[in-house]
Symmetry: C2
Subunit: 229 residues, 2 copies
């Protein structure tokens, strides 16, 4: 461990509307760790992303003189190194369920919903890479319905997504939903249960920085930052 | 927790040449947990995969009267519930590195190497779904070179992939390499360091069940099961 500069500012190389970056921001804020956000438009000349992360992905967290990558590995590290408030439950089987749901969102939900919709409706515009493909958007909007029904089902027998305590699973899910909510692509009327869950997560102080995001040329949906939407 | 049948046989619904299933098999064997392997050819009629895992993916582990999905979540659970021998190192920062590398393989290496090569050279044949696309195979074989160089670099300063103790990162990596090695698609001459690492992992008793795999109509490469290849 390079501990030559332990008091160095924590810095997150990120993109505002990336669910993986948002997940790390939520955990940092929940742990009351102050962070300097540096946007890395990695597709533009001059980006040093490959030097910071050989996997070429965001987010990258600079902390304790070290560069850290992979949002789930970072979040588990932050929860272990800064255990209060805890974002992982105490028992092994409860932690299993949190991790299963984190992968559900970062893998399946991302592949079927977040990534296709965000590429077509946000990133093509931001990167000036053509027009959205409406078939891809429609497929994503169809897929989100099944996901919302599955999550509503979970919330019928649980207070939070992975059990009766708030966990990293809720933050992971909220990170994805908040990106889609920025562009108004979540039909909250489909599930009051899920809408109430999101309103609760969104009202946490840790969410404030996300709700203040403004992407140039792409203003958020009017209800995006409202706490009683 | 449904503990009505705690002594029920542990069962893994799997596919022989899936790296995610192999990862769980390796961890179960390392923990000396006996498991009944049930092949689930989920593309054939009669598969109940969606009932067992709403994400529709393998492996699914039936254990303690419960169905568990997502290989990383399962492996972390097994390591927490059966801590000897440990597959996660003691400090938070070491565990971070293990998890970063697990994601490296299950996400990046899988997307660039394992999945494209296995789809073209194995699954299309097994599923009778057409002929391999040689461009895709070639792209995978190009990508594996960069990965091997990166891993060799890591092993120059470490005894094992994530540090100086064997961990879940080594099993995750070996699970992917072993699938490719079955069809002889790893050019071990590229890196003696990596070859020696793989020979060491492969010689563990936990690896025996994998080395005995025989996929009908697709015999393994001659060196696949040899310990001193």
């Amino acid at each position: 461990m390079n501990s030559s500069s332990p008091s160095q500012t924590i810095r997150l190389y990120h993109l505002a509307l990336s669910p993986f970056c948002r997940k790390v921001r939520l955990v940092l804020a929940e742990k009351r760790l102050e962070v300097e956000l540096v946007e890395d438009r990695y597709w533009e000349p001059g980006s040093e992303i490959m030097r910071r992360n050989p996997a070429g992905k965001l987010p990258v967290l600079r902390m304790d003189g070290r560069l850290m990558a992979e949002s789930q590995a970072i979040c588990e590290y932050l929860d272990e190194a800064y255990p209060t408030p805890a974002l992982m439950p105490p028992s092994a089987i409860e932690r299993y369920e949190v991790r299963r749901l984190c992968t559900w969102f970062d893998d399946k939900f991302n592949a079927e919903v977040t990534r296709p919709i965000m590429i077509e409706r946000v990133w093509k515009k931001v990167m000036k890479a053509g027009y959205p493909d409406s078939r891809t958007v429609k497929a994503g909007l169809r897929a989100i319905k099944d996901h919302m029904d599955y999550l509503s089902g979970l919330l019928e027998s649980r207070r939070w997504l992975a059990g009766n305590t708030m966990s990293l699973a809720d933050f992971t899910a909220a990170a994805h939903f908040s990106c889609l909510d920025y562009i108004s692509d979540v039909d909250w009327e489909r599930s009051t249960t899920l809408q109430e869950w999101y309103a609760t997560v969104k009202s946490r102080p840790a969410f404030r920085s996300l709700l203040a995001d403004q992407v140039p040329g792409l203003p958020p949906a009017p209800h995006y930052a409202e706490l009683d939407f």
